[in-house]
């Protein structure tokens, strides 16, 4: 537990001492602010569906930048030799790093809540819808970070790690379209289940379905387990 906590603290320190975290948070805030303004002032709607949908696409393109350095950075700086020889188990390294990245995600989401202030001042939005939308963001983001962290463990090059992650996440996002091409009901069910976009869409409609929650949790857990096993195997 101590070891995991130490890794977590080190990750947070590293994030805030490099420009990447600031860049990602800033771009996400500008993007979210823009989508919000467009929705509220131009369309004139107090429903956040459209805004959240666009923010989610922005989120899955930005999170690979948060996760890309997690292991690639350790390989290229030769610090993996330290992490692997200190009295740390692979899962402690994996979880410590993951929680560090999730903390950045939480900060990103928390910062966007300033957009809600005018919404609440001048209208009566549906609080439950917004809350479940944010829960959706959190779960989606956690799955993206877990996938990104695993991809980062596969390569020494941070850019390559980010590109692979983006490709994988966009595939998860859009794979729902394949449903129409599946004739077998099993295939159709599977594609529907793992597609990020329709599962996330339920959250912004105010539906917290156990199926969607479990899907994001399972994707995260599989990616983190693969990550820890890969580190073990790499020895």
């Amino acid at each position: 537990m101590n070891g995991m906590l130490a890794v977590y603290q080190k990750e947070l320190l590293s994030y805030f001492r490099s420009p990447i975290a600031y860049f990602v948070v800033a771009v996400f805030l500008i993007g979210a602010g823009y989508f919000f303004l467009y929705n509220v002032l131009i369309i004139g709607s107090a429903v956040m569906d459209e805004t959240f949908q666009s923010m989610a696409i922005l989120l899955i393109t930005l999170l690979p930048l948060v996760s890309m350095r997690l292991f690639s950075g350790e390989y290229s700086a030769r610090t993996m030799e330290l992490l692997a020889t200190l009295p740390l188990k692979p899962w402690q390294v994996v979880l410590g790093k993951y929680l560090g990245a999730v903390t950045i995600l939480l900060l990103m989401l928390l910062a966007t809540t300033v957009n809600l202030i005018p919404l609440y001042l001048y209208s009566e939005p549906q609080t439950l819808n917004i809350a479940s939308g944010y829960l959706g963001f959190l779960l989606l983001g956690m799955a993206c970070l877990a996938v990104g962290q695993f991809c980062s463990a596969l390569t020494e090059n941070q850019i390559v790690a980010a590109l692979i992650t983006m490709a994988v996440l966009l595939a998860f996002w859009f794979v729902g379209h394949l449903q129409q091409f599946q004739t077998a009901s099993g295939g159709r069910e599977f594609v529907r289940y793992v597609a990020f976009q329709p599962q996330f869409a339920d959250f912004i409609r105010g539906l917290v379905r156990s199926e969607a929650v479990s899907m994001f949790a399972i994707v995260s857990a599989i990616a983190l387990t693969l990550n820890a096993s890969y580190l073990q195997w790499r020895r």
């Binding site: 070891g3 603290q9 080190k10 320190l13 030799e81 692997a84 009295p87 740390l88 020895r235």
Partner: protein, 331 residues
């Protein structure tokens, strides 16, 4: 296994030497980097690990550190199996890799605190422990500096400080004095020597005088095979016959006849000494009996002028090259 002795440590585990390798090999695909390596390092002993570049030193260090797993053989650190009991073994170990593993974005103090926490230094002792290694490695001036701003010498010493944290029983150092200036080398050697009085140190280097100065024993490897392991003195004794050189004004033929008559002189080689055609430089192969220089001096000085006489021991350098070249021709 004559020198093997067993201690029953407090934890109850049976522990032999601080580091022990038994038939350790490492293969990558069809390529074997380390062949069947066996040796031990005892507590309170500094062992130098010598070998040319690409000999398998770093791979061996990485296996002992637990960074890579041996393909075959057994490897124990402080009595714990590095593969099966990895975490316990890792707690006993301080490791400085070839390239110091530093987080450039952190400050020196933050970095050391991170390592101390992972090594489970008790909360109340963290500060004292960091102060101890900071002082030992002369890092006081850069305590609050970001690591990417440090010079190569400081980076190397911070890497060593990190390895010393948590008072490990075994220290593995891969070229610890690389990149240091002569003053820093001296200080670093002192730190290692002081640590090695009570603990076990395995030190890889290709600075040969360093080995003679601080190591109790030397292991020479090439092409992943152990060629020799012994004290520098024993290696010198075993390596080649000692040699006496002298400068005199004697005529070559007469001198050679006189010298070869001495009991213990095996071989005499003469050549002109430098530019002076009157003087003769002589190399005599001799055996190791005491007083042979005196006999040679007496014989030469009774008939001619003797300008210089010196007994030469083979240097570690020549021994090292001999082992490495011999292994190179056989493999």
């Amino acid at each position: 296994m004559g020198g093997f002795f067993f201690l029953r440590s407090e934890s109850g585990s049976v522990s032999a030497a601080a580091i022990s390798l038994e038939g350790v090999s490492k293969r990558y695909g069809s390529k074997t980097i380390v062949h069947d390596l066996s040796f031990t390092v005892r507590p309170g002993e500094i062992v130098g690990f010598l070998g040319p570049n690409g000999a398998g030193k770093t791979t061996t260090m990485r296996m002992i550190s637990g960074y890579t797993t041996p393909s075959a053989g057994r490897l124990r650190v402080a009595g714990f199996d590095m593969v099966k009991d990895n975490e316990k073994a890792a707690r006993k170990l301080g490791y400085l890799p070839e390239q110091p593993p530093l987080y450039d974005m952190l400050e020196v103090a933050q970095y050391l605190r991170f390592v101390a926490k992972v090594k489970s230094v008790p909360q109340g002792e963290v500060k004292a422990e960091i102060d101890r290694v900071t002082q030992a490695c002369r890092l006081e001036d850069v305590h609050r500096k970001e690591i990417y701003k440090l010079s190569k010498g400081y980076r190397q010493r911070l890497g060593l400080a990190q390895a010393l944290l948590g008072k490990p029983e075994v220290l593995l150092l891969d070229e610890p004095t690389a990149g240091l200036d002569p003053g820093q080398i001296q200080e670093t050697r002192e730190v290692i020597r002081a640590f090695g009085e009570k603990h076990a140190v395995l030190l890889s280097t290709h600075i040969l005088p360093e080995v003679t100065m601080i190591c109790a024993r030397v292991a020479i490897i090439n092409h992943g095979r152990l060629l020799a392991i012994d004290s520098p003195q024993a290696l010198q004794r075993a390596a080649e016959q000692p040699n006496v050189t002298l400068t005199t004004d004697a005529p070559a033929d007469a001198l050679r006849a006189e010298l070869q008559a001495i009991n213990g002189v095996s071989e005499v080689v003469t050549r002109p000494a430098g530019n002076d055609t009157n003087l003769l430089a002589v190399d005599c192969g001799v055996d190791s009996r005491a007083g042979i220089e005196a006999s040679i001096a007496r014989v030469v000085a009774s008939r001619w002028n003797l300008y210089r006489l010196e007994r030469r021991q083979p240097t570690l350098e020549s021994i090292f090259l001999r082992y490495v070249q011999a292994a190179g021709t056989t493999s």
